[in-house]
Symmetry: D2
Subunit: 334 residues, 4 copies
């Protein structure tokens, strides 16, 4: 950690701070510049309150030098993590295509969609059983029944299933689910993160609407610190002043996260835009900039979908898109 | 609900939509303008997917007319709700002063601070036992022990206690807490909201960093729909491009929420700014615009606080501030 | 325009509003719903103050139905506008590749870069002569001399030149420039927009950092209303809470603007990200989602560039990128 | 400036960088920590491109230590600047109350409003003659005639006049105006800033919708570097995801700007909220946190105002508000 002192600080005040820092077990390296003094702190600063030091009257600013991402950081784990789900690999050059309806509605619906997206090249099936809805009066999902229907669809198609958990008490129901999703609203539900960190199961962690990359990686740390290193990150749009789409898809995070972390990064253009006709162009953009996969909403009857019909592609639209996604990805890598 | 059709829509397409809406049990009132046709939907539209209709090729836009805030809305409950906590009333003209440390650290600490803030005019004590921290490696609070220490401080001072719950499994430990706080990161943790909705206990619900007022009120609906109508709303800053404070305190929500809802609205200037010297001016601003109370971090030794020392006032600073808060409030109401 | 009244409005108040609206020369179509009354205003509402009506005590909300984009809107001009710059066409299926340094520094520099980017497939040359800099103490560009050097580079390569104008008094100097750029900070400098609207010359209009699509199109209206319909729109990133890049590139505007307007839309990944190594992935994303062109900073010696060296590609990096851009574009369209 | 190198950088690479920095005329102070090397740059770093150095492969990050605010910074000018406008003083403990209509419409209108607001305690008159409107089809102000009407109102009441300039060519018309306003959309119109920097006349500089405090101060530097040190800063709301008000009033800038700069800081609650009934509470909040004045829209007939009627107070509302503003300010200072 580096502490930059204000100009013209009295020696006495400066020495008091240095003594206090030393009393915390740190070595101090003093560098006197023309305009400022810089203190380099040597030793374990993880328990030092950076904001507190920054708030002292004689301190101009503080900068943490060592990265806090012990598990998720690229620095200590240079090779890409490859998350394995059955036969599917996510990360490290492999591309995953997750598709399915916003919510599971019936056996016919989920099986029909699963077959359709598989035929188009999808290799995982998504479908909501427990649904986080802004209003308590909206449809909340088929819950446990929904999970059973997903398993039937898996049996019929062989596609691994991805579905969202909303609370720690639901976790036992997810034992036979292939990938557990943590939704954007729960990205900092630390209680839940800690619990999925105890599982031996891939976790799809969505970025919160107003969370920085550092916060996303710290949430991944909550899971990984518990021993579960199979984390897939997902960009799904952030909240900005923009009002023409549901959220603003922030694609530059894809190459930036690939620098910062070894974890795979996928993109959800359906929730990011909220508008079905914007999903194909944004999916192609995601493929072009190096995402490790896509998660896309597909519904065979959007007009009667129980939720998010407005952002769902029809199976034939998904089929056309999937073909282009593979072509764009190939062209971008050539 | 009002559906505005695009210009030049074919009669046939228009009639298909009308038929479909009628099949959902709605009456349709058609209004032909010079440039557009407007459909007024009569009947219960709560289960209609507004986004879906808006996404149809022939529809220009859709507007919901009836408000979704059945419990929290001012419309159906014109009088202010007054939340009662022991002898303290929040809302309806009464002002609450909640103060205390970010986290409970020891019996001496919490009792000393409780006595000090009480002497300055505080009428409730805050203190974190379970702490939501961005990093899993940071101090997570004294947990159950912290709750016990809060009760001791209550016994010593008579101040009711306010503290944050982070997960449904912790709720039994909070039985003897006076006000349960839902933090900003959990504002849309619906699982948790539903559980505190079953309690007979005031809930302090903080606005999330990127949540609209509508979303805040819908989260209050989750609690109230369960039967618990004692909800206090709290503005604590939103996330914007601004980087000179931790968050941007959005004070216009205070009068705006007073229009939309009958629930009391308090302000947290400590978390909003993250900088102790900005807390007094922002606290005075909150008092001036009609807030129903303040929740402020006070620590007797900020330099050694286990968290958020940078934003904590010392007891003597709080004392000066409290005096001014009462004076400003009086001047603004005169 | 549609005016939705609040529930339970007194007939007398309602009638007063109707009379006032009629006195403005409008026909009124009244639609009584179960919960609300909707007034459909018939006639020319362009001079009606929508915000004012919305602020009346008896009004719930107001919605404008007719679009304000008389010149730029797709509605009245369904075919794509193709802006022609010498032999280069922008829009309508043609793709433009604008490249060059942030600022013109010397004849050797600009000619060398122009030759290099032309060899890589660029068909226009960019280069700043007048530079908008946040600080008055930073390098402000070579100004008139810079324009002359650009013309030399054009002569040497045949590439049309694109450069930014910062004030109305500079316009005479731009007579022989091929495309005049209005920078993001000047997107709502209406004085300047009006002046370039009088020219017979293509204008590259960059979206402001915090401007909505509606505002961008209204700024295009300022230019087009003056008689100059050769406007190219440019997305270059918006300001959000995100701090890992200079701005957040908002690519979903590309397909969305293509719906709203007939004007061509290009993307500037250099200013959007501010980081050279993020430029190639974002350029590919822009090509994948249907942008009509790219404007990219290229410098032959970024380490010694007078500004924005951090976001400039070297010629060899641009060459590799250009090849991929064409391939991705082809794959996305197939 | 401080340059922090990445961990494990090769000595050779490090030495190259150091040589290059030395070749720029800087002294280098090297500090080796346990985990990192920090270079302290000694000498004049104002022309060094910080972003460029930060983008080098071996550099972790760069921090500028010396402040770039040579004229506006508090550091070199500790005492408050007091801007004098006739008998009115702004800053340094004096409070200004600027009021008047959004736009000047007629002699009767502007004189009547001027008399009314003066009677309520206003000490300057605002009124737009040149209006920046989002749409070219909206009312653009009475222009030169409007300026003449303002002067008549000044003659009738003695109130100094404040009005907005939109372009350099208009400046000669403003010779007899007391305070020239630079609107939010022109905050980074450097061409215009430079021109008003040559005048001997107070300038009211509004913060742009998406501008940081640093950018606001740099725009003040453009004016001050030209020799005009009479700059009044104005907070008028920023653009955020929030949609219930026109903008988000960011009041914590008031105390923060008072730390950073010696210039006076006033607040415009009318444009910030866009809703007349939110203006009084926000005006009181501004007075409570130490603003040096308020600029408020007042209209004697908001229903027929040519612009922004929705956010204008009636004279009687302004009168009530003004009384409370003085009381709150007094209470906050006590």
């Amino acid at each position: 950690m580096i502490v930059i002192l204000k100009q013209g600080v009295r020696t006495e005040k400066r020495d008091q701070l240095i003594e206090w820092l030393k009393s915390q077990g740190l070595g101090i390296h003093i560098s006197e510049g023309q305009y400022q003094t810089v203190l380099g702190l040597i030793g374990d600063t993880t328990n030092l309150d950076m904001d507190l030091i920054a708030s002292l009257g004689i301190v101009d600013s503080v900068k943490r030098v060592t990265e806090p991402f012990k598990c998720s950081g690229r620095k200590f784990h240079p090779d890409d993590t490859i998350v394995t789900v059955g036969d599917v690999k996510v990360g490290g050059g492999d591309f995953c295509m997750i598709a399915g309806p916003c919510s599971v509605e019936s056996e016919e619906q989920i099986v029909a969609i699963a077959k359709a997206v598989k035929a188009s090249g999808a290799n995982m099936l998504r479908g909501g059983a427990f649904k986080p809805r802004t209003s308590p009066y909206d449809f909340q999902g088929l819950q446990a029944t929904g999970l059973e229907l997903l398993k039937i669809a898996r049996q019929e198609t062989g596609l691994p299933i991805v579905t969202e958990v909303m609370g720690v008490n639901q976790i036992p129901l997810f034992e036979d689910v292939d990938v557990i999703q943590i939704g954007a609203r729960n990205m900092q539900n630390y209680d839940l993160l800690r619990e999925v960190g105890k599982l031996k199961k891939p976790v799809l962690l969505k970025r919160g609407l107003a969370n920085t990359l550092k916060e996303l990686l710290m949430s991944a740390e909550y899971i990984m610190a518990g021993g579960n290193e199979q984390v897939i990150l997902c960009e799904r749009g952030i909240r900005t002043f923009d009002d023409y789409t549901r959220n603003t898809l922030d694609l530059a995070v894809v190459p930036m996260l690939h620098e910062l972390t070894h974890l795979p990064v996928i993109v959800d253009p359906s929730h990011a835009t909220g508008i079905a006709r914007l999903v194909p162009p944004m999916a192609l953009s995601a493929a072009a900039c190096g995402a490790d996969g896509l998660i896309i909403e597909v519904h065979n009857d959007p007009l009667h979908a129980k939720c998010d019909g407005a952002q769902s592609l029809r199976p034939e639209e998904y089929d056309t898109l999937a073909r282009k996604v593979f072509a764009v990805r190939k062209a971008a890598q050539a």
